[in-house]
Amino acid sequence: MQNRRRFLQAAPLMSLAPAWPDFLSAAAMASEPQRDERILVVVQLSGGNDGLNTVIPYADENYAKYREKLRVPTTQIIRLNDSLGLHPALKAAGELFDYGRLAIVNGVGYPNPSRSHFRSMAIWHSARLSSEDHNGHGWLGRAADSVRTTPSPSADAIFVGDGNIPAAIVGRRARPIALNSEKELTLAADLATPTSPDSSDDLASFVQGTVASSYAAARRFSDSTATSGPGNVTYPSSGLGQKLNLMAKMIRLNTGTRIFYVEQTGYDTHSSQKFSHERLLREFATSLKAFLDDMNASGFGDRVTVLTFSEFGRRVQENASAGTDHGTSGPVFIAGESLNAGMHGVYPSLADLEDGDLQTTVDFRTIYSALLTDWLEIDSVLTPGSEFPPLKLYQT
């Protein structure tokens, strides 16, 4: 506790003279961040998306059997090949697929699936199966840690949303920031940024760093006029559409941040699923397409990949309240300009269920491997002592 006390007594923490954090000092500003690096956007579908009604095995007779109330009529399904198709609300995603801008990975999960939202999300965030390893740090946070230079010229990751920053982008040193609207980045007072404490106290350093990076972000945003877009893309007025619109502005700032994260909530459809699920999928697909079109028009198309996942799929058998309960594996979408578009992985058989749930045919960590090594080009060990060869999502 000696360290904390020293921090507390280290006056003045803020002086009249503006004190810049290290990463905004003249020396740090002189070394410009890389302006052409690739960017990963993660869209998290929270609550457990019903994968079976997202990518639909329409040719399988068992589909209609298990989904008496919730089945999508075959005639309405957007056919992608002779056995699989998309829910009609995913029309915009179908267009991305047709033009080679979307890869769909089927049957994605992990061994011994957990049906707890929290446990399963923690596994996806950390890329580690054991709860003892769920320490609040995530796969992208660790990746950012491994390439972080001091002083760091930019936020390591940006979360657009009003919830908590997801563990996926939190690391030991990496500092993600969060925002939900432009006015939230405007400070009402002209404040000096606090100086660094002479402290190895973890909590004190955390607070110090968070306050400093928050003020720096506010200053940078208010100084910039570089955030306006090409103006020929219309985003849906929905929550996800507006968040991706704000995210596009942040990306156009081109500050060197390579990891962006956004969440769409509401997929925990235990009852009366039909219309709510349809609305969510439509919002997702139209927002995603607007965002990718915007990125193309802004000249960022080749630099952006979007990963979309959910913590689990849902039970194959619908429940009695026209909903679905927590299940296991599901499809993952990867969208962008520079990827091996099309179908990846084997769709789990509806004739060979495991305890009423879909089997897992692709481990999600092989997707993470591909995104880290082949897209972001960050060497990262997902789990100590085990290897996950990258799924062939990119030409290498």
């Binding site: 923490l13 929290f118 009003d162 007072a189 607070v207 110090q208 306050v211 506010a218 009852s271 009695a320």
Partner: protein, 434 residues
Amino acid sequence: MTAWQPFKSTAEAKWDHRQIVHLHRRTVFGPSWAEVERDAASSAEDAVNRILTGECRTEGVPGDFEILANLIGDSATTSRNVDRLKAWWIYRCLFSPDPLQERLTLMWHNHFATSHRKVDSLNLMMAQNATLRRHCRAPFGDLLRDMMQDPALLIWLDAEANRKGHPNENLARELLELFTLGIGHYSEDDIKAAARALTGCTVRDGGFHFERSRHDADATTIFGQTAVWDPGSLADTLLKQPAVAGRLAWRLVQEFFGEGVVGEAEHNELAQQLQRSGLNIGAAVETMLHSELFFSEANIRSRVSDPMSFLIAPLRAFEMTQQPPSTLLLANWLKRMGLDLFYPPNVGGWDGGRAWLNTRTVIARTNYVAATVRGQLHYPAAPTDLKAVALNHGCRSFPQFIETLFAVNPPHVPVDDAAEAFVRLMAQPIAHLH
């Protein structure tokens, strides 16, 4: 209890302004000058007892508080405006003679995190809030049994859909995982059987209803015990599991202690006390707040200040209770600081701790302080004369006043403009710890 022996002030373990402000910030959102002076002239034991018994506030408490609060609450529920319900709760936190009750109610709102987003009824959210408050210090079983019949919680977790032959596991899973045992203390089969035990629980005409025809009366096995279950016998069995005391000890430590202060031995001892006392929450809180550990240097300034405390502390310090700011505006600021009352992010509640701080919430906190001292929380704008409040109490100087009440070093700025000096004070990183 060796680990939780009571605090006694000595030459080393001081009882001074620093400890007093710590006590008030952790438990009752923040003190006024007069309250700090009063506690400094008494023993730590008496000061803690005043908080435990709801006698800690000397000013800003209306004589007819409960009547006023109920009027405001009733008009909020009839208004159909959820923001007015949030404002009502802030009113309670700001003016209640028993602010620890509000702190504990907030803790239970986080524990049984239910969102109006799905419940969509101000009456039911208000009724749940009253249940949480009524049992906030009670033996946990009283609270749990009422919550298992709480309409808002049942709607939130799809109880209506959980019927004989067609179980819906949502309520059963969260009951075991979040409300009582914690992950790792049950099996998937226990969840399935618990869901069947809960079939028939539903909401009718805004109240709890047990629909016997939907109840699954087959014998099933829960925690190795085969029986014909109903919600009552499930609750009885759950409350006998030793894991419940462990989870409650964790919840209480999360609420009242800093990072890494309570070790495994202390945690286990607290759990044992809970177990022995029939899960008596009030008694456990009493043990914690009286303890040497609570007042230890390691526990002071060792956690991120939660939004409600950050919101209320300056209002109490500058005695804005005489001409209170708009509680509707306060509710909006609280949301921007990350605490949207009645809208927890999910059934797991708010993570709290370090998760309270990110770019958006740090800027919101600073902007909130600026809006407060510039009078922007009032219609029409009415800045408070901060210096006058300090000098009224015979304080030597304004810096001494804020140093005492916020236990941080005053900023090196001219105090001619006390309001701007205070904004800078609260923008220091340390102002986010308590």
